[in-house]
C-alpha cells in the first residue's frame, strides 16, 4: 500500500489488541448516513515512475523561457549548497521546534537568520518569518495599530508606488479590523511618491506611513524625508524593502535625515525571496519583519532566543510565545502558526555563503545588467524610459503601443519581456516594467533587444502597410 507499512499480520494483531474485527469498525461513530462513497473524482494511483513522467511532460510544456519579469519576484542565481542542504531530511521533514532540545539545528539557524535580517535592515530584532512580503505588509499595518498608542485613527497611508499586489493583500486582510489604507499618488515624471499628496495629512492622526524602497517602479524614494515626516506627525514608519538591495542602500534603521538623528523606520518588512529562494510560480517565499526592541511584544510570528540549559551551556528556544495564538488565542498578535521555515533555512544558507561582499556584488551586478538592458532596449525606435528617478534594478519603459500584445509576441519567441503595468496603473497605458538580474548575460540582453526590435518593427511595418 503506498506509504503504509502494515503487513496483513500486523493488521490482524492490531485489530485484536483494539478488540475489533475490522478497520471499518473504528469509524462506527460516524453517522452511517454520512459515510462517503468512492472518490470517483480522484484518479487512480500512479506509481513514482508514472508521476515522474507526467510531471516531466508538464514541465516540458512550460519550458524555460528567458525571463525579464521582476515585479516582486526576482530570478537570482542560487548557489548549489543552498537547497542541497535545505532539503536534507533533518531540515525538510522536521516541524516547528516546540521541543527545543531536539530541534537545536532549526533553532540556532533561526537565531542566525534573525541576526542577519536585523543587521541587513539595521533594526534591533527580527521574527522567524511571515508568509510572504504582501502578507507581511498587512501584518505590519496591524502591528502599527497596536504599537502606535498615540493614534486612534487606524488610518495608514500607502503610496501607489508600493507594489499594487501588496496593497490588495493588505486591504483584504486589514479591512476586517476597521483599518483604512489611504493611497497617495506618485509623481508622473520621477516615478517617486508625490510629496504634496502627503502634505494634506500633516498634523492629522495618521497611524503609519508605508514606504517601499526601491518602489514598485524600481525607483528610489526619498526615504529620509518621508521618515522624518512620519515621525514629525507621530506616525510610525513602515518600510517595505527588497533585502538584497540593502547591500547597497541605506538600511531602514538609519532612514531619516541627520538633522532628526537618523531615527529610522519603526517596522521593516518585505519579501525574502531574493535571498536564495527560487521563483517557483510565486511561492513558497517568506515574509520578513524586523523592528525596534521596544515593539518586540507587538510583533507577530515566532521568535527564537538564546538561553542557557540546566548545565549553564548556551542553547536556543522559542521565546515570547505569550504573543502567539497557541497561548494568547483570541488576543494574540496574529493568527500565524505555521510559517515559512524551509525558505528561511535556504535564505540563511544563502546569506552565509554570500556574505556582505557577495550580496553587494549581486546587487551591483543587477544594477549593471538592468542598465545594460535599458540601453539596449531604448536604442530601439519607439522605446523610452518612463521615469527620471534613480533606480535600483527595475525599469519602466514606455512603448509606442499597448504592452500586452508585445509581450504575447515576445512570449512566442521564448522571452518573458516584463510586466504590463496598465493592469495596475491605467494611466500608464503602454508601460512595461522590466528587470535584468545577475543571471542575464550579454547574449541574453542582446537576444531580448533583437526580439523586441523585430516585434515592434514587424508591427510598425504592418501598421505602415495597412
Amino acid at each position: 500500500m503506498p506509504f503504509i507499512p502494515h503487513t496483513p499480520q500486523d493488521i490482524a494483531e492490531m485489530l485484536q489488541v483494539i478488540g475489533v474485527r475490522s478497520v471499518s469498525e473504528l469509524f462506527e461513530e460516524i453517522p452511517a448516513e454520512l459515510l462517503a462513497g468512492p472518490l470517483t473524482g480522484v484518479p487512480l494511483a500512479l506509481s513514482e515512475i508514472e508521476i515522474s513522467r507526467l510531471m516531466s511532460d508538464r514541465a516540458a510544456i512550460d519550458g524555460r523561457p528567458l525571463n525579464f519579469i521582476g515585479g516582486g519576484a526576482y530570478e537570482h542565481h542560487i548557489p548549489a549548497p543552498v537547497w542541497a542542504i535545505a532539503t536534507r531530511g533533518e531540515f525538510y521533514s522536521a516541524y516547528t521546534p516546540y521541543q527545543a532540545e531536539a530541534s537545536q539545528g532549526t533553532l540556532q539557524l533561526i537565531y542566525e537568520y534573525q541576526s542577519m535580517l536585523s543587521e541587513l535592515t539595521g533594526m534591533e530584532v527580527s521574527n522567524a518569518s511571515l508568509y510572504d512580503g504582501a502578507s507581511a505588509l498587512a501584518e505590519a499595518c496591524l502591528m502599527a495599530v497596536r504599537a502606535n498608542r498615540s493614534s486612534l485613527s487606524r488610518r495608514i497611508l500607502v503610496p501607489r508606488t508600493v507594489n499594487p499586489l501588496y496593497l490588495q493583500v493588505a486591504r483584504s486582510i486589514v479591512g476586517n479590523q476597521g483599518v483604512t489604507l489611504v493611497t497617495l499618488d506618485y509623481d508622473r515624471a520621477s516615478g517617486r511618491m508625490l510629496a504634496e499628496s502627503l502634505q494634506q495629512f500633516t498634523g492629522q492622526d495618521v497611524t503609519a506611513l508605508v514606504v517601499q524602497q526601491p518602489n514598485f517602479f524600481g525607483v528610489l524614494e526619498e526615504v529620509d524625508e518621508l521618515t522624518d515626516w512620519a515621525h514629525a506627525n507621530k506616525a510610525l514608519l513602515i518600510g517595505v524593502v527588497n533585502p538584497l538591495s540593502l547591500a547597497l542602500l541605506k538600511p531602514p534603521g538609519l532612514w531619516g535625515g541627520p538633522a532628526s538623528g537618523n531615527q529610522g523606520a519603526d517596522i521593516v518588512c518585505g519579501e525574502g525571496q531574493p535571498l536564495g529562494v527560487p521563483l517557483a510560480s510565486g511561492g513558497p517565499y517568506f515574509g520578513f519583519m524586523t523592528t525596534r526592541m521596544q515593539y518586540v511584544r507587538q510583533m507577530p510570528g515566532r521568535i527564537v532566543g538564546r538561553t542557557l540549559d540546566a548545565e549553564g551551556r548556551p542553547g536556543f528556544t522559542l521565546t515570547l510565545q505569550a504573543r502567539e495564538q497557541h497561548i494568547r488565542r483570541g488576543k494574540a498578535t496574529s493568527n500565524i502558526c505555521t510559517n515559512q521555515g524551509l525558505t528561511v533555512t535556504a535564505a540563511t544558507i544563502y546569506m552565509s555563503l554570500m556574505g556582505a561582499a557577495g550580496l553587494e556584488r549581486v546587487a551591483a551586478a543587477c544594477m549593471q545588467r538592468s542598465a545594460q538592458l535599458l540601453k539596449a532596449l531604448t536604442a530601439i525606435r519607439g522605446v523610452k524610459t518612463t521615469f527620471t528617478g534613480p533606480r535600483f534594478h527595475e525599469v519602466v519603459l514606455s512603448l509606442d503601443r499597448p504592452a500586452a500584445a508585445v509581450l504575447e509576441e515576445l512570449a512566442r519567441r521564448g522571452i518573458l519581456g516584463g510586466l504590463d503595468l496598465s493592469q495596475h496603473y491605467p494611466e500608464l497605458k503602454s508601460a512595461l516594467l522590466v528587470c535584468a538580474t545577475e543571471t542575464k548575460n550579454d547574449a541574453d540582453i542582446a537576444r531580448y533587444g533583437q526580439a523586441l526590435a523585430e516585434v515592434l518593427g514587424a508591427a510598425s511595418a504592418k501598421a505602415g502597410a495597412a
Partner: protein
C-alpha cells in the same frame, strides 16, 4: 565516559554560531556574479544619501565552512526522516522524496509567477487538477489554493463568512462560536477578522455541549469553527444536530481541516453540512514541514460562499487553463498573497495525491485510525489514562498524566523530554488546554507497528522510572545536544540577535 571525555565531546559537538566562524576578508567568491568593469558597464551611481555607508556585519565564511556549519546544525534536529515524531495535530508523516524532486524540476522552479498563462499551461494543469481533487475529497463546490497555511485558510474562511452575511445586508453577525478545545488559531483568526469569539464547552464524552451551543447560537452568530474529529481526538457524533442548530440560527459552519487525515474518503465535510473548510495540505498531503513551514491552507466552499473565494483560482476554458482574478470574481474577498500562495507546496501536494490515488486516500484514514486506536489501547494497558478511552480514537488521541502528576510530581513536559532520550519526538503537550497534563499523540499511517510498540514500551519504561528514578524523568533530557533549556530566562533576558562577545560584555 568520564568528565574529561565528556567535556571534550561536548566541545566537539557544539556548533558555534556562524558569526563566530566568520572572519573579515574570508569569502566564497565562486558564488559571486561576474561584474562588468569599464566606463560603459556600470549602472548610474546611487545618490549618496540613499547609499549604505557601512557594510552590514554578515557572516564571512568559506563555502566549506557554510556547508559544514549547516550540515552539522541539521544533525541536531529530530525529524521524520530520522525519528518517530507523533506530534498531535501536526500529522507528521512521511514526506515522499519524489514530491520534492519533481516539484523542483528546473522548469517549475524557474517559472515566474507573473508569466503569462500561455507559457504556463503545464503548471496550471497541475493546479487545476489539484483544485478538482480537493473539491472531490471535501465534497465542496469550489477550491482556492491561495492561502499560505492553515491559519490563513481560516482567515479566508471567516472572511468569506463575513462577506456573505454582509452581502445579504446581515451586518450584525459578528460572533464566531468556538468550542473550547479548538486550536489557538481559531479564536485568533476570528479576532483578526474583527469577530467576537464565543467559546462553548464540550461534554464529558468530548462532544460539543449541545445546550451551550443552542444558547450561544442566535442572530449575532456569523458561524461556528469546528474541527471534526475534534482536537480531543474523537469524531463529533452530534454533527448533524450541530449543523441544524447553527444553520437554523443563520450562521455558517467552518471546518478546520487540520484533522482531515482522519476522515479522508470516509466522510466529507461538505456532506456533513459544512459551508467552508480549510485544509492543511502540509499535513494531510505531506508536503515538507520544513522546521515550521511552509504550509498551504487551501480552502473549499459550498455553493453559498463560492463567489467569495480568495483569488486567484485556476479556471479552464475548453482546453486552456487561465487565472481567474478580480475581473472574473468581483465578489471575492480578494488576494491573500502577492501571487498565488505557496505554489511549490501545492505542487508537492498534487504529486502526493496522484501517488495515493483514489484508493490511497481512504487507506490514509483507515491506517491512521488503526495506529491511533492501537496505541491508545496499548498505553492504557500499560497503565496510562486515555482522556476519552471510552471513545474510538480518530487519527490521534489524548493521554492525561494528571494522576502521575499528583502521584510523582512528574509533568507531561517531563515525560515529553524523557521521550527524547528514547530517540522519539514527543507528542504535543498541553494542547488541547482543557485536558490537564495531556499528551496529544498522532502516530500517522506511515509508521510501522514496531515503531508504535517501541513508543509504548518507552512510555511504560518511563512510568517505571517515575517511581524508581524520578530524577531521570524530571531532569530529562540527558542525551540531547543540550540539557533542558531555561525558557524563563529566554523570555526575561532577551537575546534575539547575535552580538560579538565584546558587545555582550558591555551590555
Amino acid at each position: 565516559m568520564n568528565a574529561t571525555t565528556s567535556s571534550v565531546t561536548r566541545k566537539a559537538a557544539r556548533e558555534p554560531v556562524i558569526f563566530e566562524i566568520s572572519k573579515p576578508g574570508r569569502e566564497a567568491p565562486t558564488q559571486f556574479p561576474p561584474l562588468a568593469r569599464g566606463p560603459d558597464a556600470g549602472a548610474p551611481a546611487l545618490p549618496a544619501h540613499l547609499r549604505r555607508q557601512a557594510r552590514p556585519a554578515m557572516p564571512s565564511v568559506s563555502e566549506l565552512q557554510a556547508v559544514r556549519h549547516f550540515t552539522r546544525l541539521s544533525q541536531l534536529n529530530f525529524s521524520i526522516d530520522t525519528h518517530f515524531y507523533p506530534l498531535g495535530s501536526c500529522t507528521m508523516k512521511y514526506n515522499p522524496k519524489a514530491c520534492n524532486s519533481l516539484a523542483m524540476l528546473p522548469e517549475f522552479l524557474n517559472r515566474h509567477p507573473l508569466a503569462p498563462a500561455s507559457a504556463s499551461q503545464g503548471f496550471l494543469a497541475c493546479m487545476f487538477e489539484l483544485q478538482e481533487m480537493l473539491r472531490e475529497i471535501t465534497g465542496m463546490h469550489g477550491v482556492s489554493l491561495t492561502p499560505m497555511a492553515g491559519a490563513q485558510g481560516e482567515f479566508a474562511g471567516v472572511a468569506m463568512i463575513r462577506a456573505y452575511h454582509r452581502a445579504r445586508g446581515d451586518e450584525g453577525r459578528n460572533e464566531i462560536i468556538v468550542p473550547e478545545a479548538a486550536h489557538g488559531t481559531n479564536p485568533a483568526t476570528a479576532a483578526m477578522c474583527g469577530c467576537v469569539v464565543r467559546e462553548i464547552p464540550c461534554d464529558s464524552n468530548g462532544d460539543v455541549d449541545i445546550e451551550a451551543l443552542r444558547a450561544a447560537a442566535g442572530p449575532k452568530t456569523a458561524g461556528i469553527m469546528l474541527t471534526n474529529p475534534s482536537t480531543l481526538g474523537v469524531f463529533e457524533r452530534k454533527i448533524v444536530t450541530v449543523e441544524k442548530i447553527v444553520h437554523a440560527a443563520g450562521g455558517l459552519l467552518y471546518y478546520d481541516g487540520a484533522n482531515l487525515n482522519a476522515i479522508l474518503g470516509k466522510v466529507r465535510p461538505g456532506d456533513m453540512g459544512f459551508d467552508v473548510i480549510h485544509m492543511n495540505l502540509h499535513k494531510t498531503f505531506s508536503t515538507p514541514h520544513g522546521g515550521g513551514g511552509p504550509g498551504s491552507g487551501a480552502v473549499g466552499v459550498g455553493e453559498r460562499l463560492l463567489p467569495y473565494l480568495p483569488i486567484p483560482v485556476v479556471g479552464r476554458d475548453g482546453e486552456r487553463y487561465r487565472w481567474l482574478d478580480e475581473r472574473d470574481r468581483p465578489k471575492s474577498i480578494g488576494r491573500l498573497s502577492a501571487f498565488m500562495g505557496n505554489a511549490g507546496v501545492n505542487m508537492r501536494a498534487y504529486i502526493y495525491m496522484r501517488m495515493l490515488g483514489r484508493d490511497g486516500m481512504v487507506r490514509v484514514a483507515e491506517f491512521a485510525a488503526l495506529n491511533a486506536n492501537y496505541m491508545m489501547r496499548r498505553l492504557t494497558a500499560e497503565g496510562f489514562d486515555a482522556a476519552y478511552g471510552m471513545r474510538r480514537a480518530s487519527h490521534e488521541f489524548i493521554i492525561t498524566l494528571k494522576r502521575q502528576h499528583r502521584q510523582y510530581n512528574i509533568s507531561a513536559m517531563d515525560v515529553a523530554k524523557r521521550l527524547l532520550d528514547y530517540g522519539m519526538h514527543a507528542p504535543t503537550t498541553y494542547f488541547p488546554l482543557l485536558v490537564p497534563e495531556c499528551l496529544l499523540i498522532e502516530p500517522t499511517e506511515t509508521e510501522a507497528k514496531e515503531d508504535l510498540d517501541r513508543f509504548c514500551d518507552a512510555m511504560s519504561e518511563i512510568l517505571r522510572e517515575m517511581a524508581e528514578t524520578p530524577e531521570m524523568v524530571s531532569k530529562a533530557p540527558h542525551t540531547m545536544p543540550v540539557r533542558r533549556l531555561d525558557d524563563v530566562r529566554a523570555a526575561k533576558l532577551l537575546d534575539l540577535v547575535w552580538k560579538p562577545a565584546a558587545a555582550r560584555a558591555g551590555e
